[in-house]
Symmetry: C2
Subunit: 85 residues, 2 copies
DNA sequence: CTAATATTTAGACAGTTATCTAAATATCTA
DNA sequence: TAGATATTTAGATAACTGTCTAAATATTAG
């Protein structure tokens, strides 16, 4: 679970998750919302992927990213547990 | 809110929060559970303090740390919002 | 097949973080 | 007050992170 908190500790990555709430997006589409380069974005997506917070899936020409809701639920439970006595 | 996720991204700090769930503890008492030096622990406590996740209060000879529940609630809300469409 | 577009990988670099030792500050006890 | 205990501050260092440019890989279109 370490990776999840690490992944959430960067504002760009939280914003990516926020964008993906509305709908799945390709890297290029995500990129429009940021001023960082492609490789930097790719790096952030990799961290989110490894934390299992997002899922990447190629659809023809593009790779679409989407939220991994099930991991969110687990993380939420973990988070609540972290504070409840 | 950036500081909260950063604070939570370290396993030692999460363990400190976990210890404080049971009861308030002095630095020396917290230290018993870790193999890091005093200054390192002090550094972690400072980060938790600045994220408002804990409160420090001197009681005579010792400084006791306790969970700041209200900030936990805010953070939990933020966390849920981060994922709910 | 070649060129164009989409995305990732490799390698470098500056800034941040976790850790340490040594020293400073604060409080208590004798 | 002097010495012991509790905690923090200062300064150093190695590892990690976010960013970049250049190059590699994958897919589509002509």
């Amino acid at each position: 679970m370490d990776g999840v908190f690490k992944a959430l500790s960067d504002p760009n990555r939280r914003e990516i998750l926020n964008l993906l709430k509305k709908k799945d997006l390709s890297v290029t589409e995500i990129q429009r919302h940021f001023k960082i380069t492609g490789p930097s974005l790719s790096h952030h997506l990799d961290i989110l992927k490894r934390a299992n917070l997002v899922i990447a899936e190629r659809r023809g020409q593009f790779i679409f990213y989407s939220l991994n809701i099930s991991v969110f639920e687990e993380t939420l439970k973990m988070f609540i547990k972290l504070f409840s006595k």
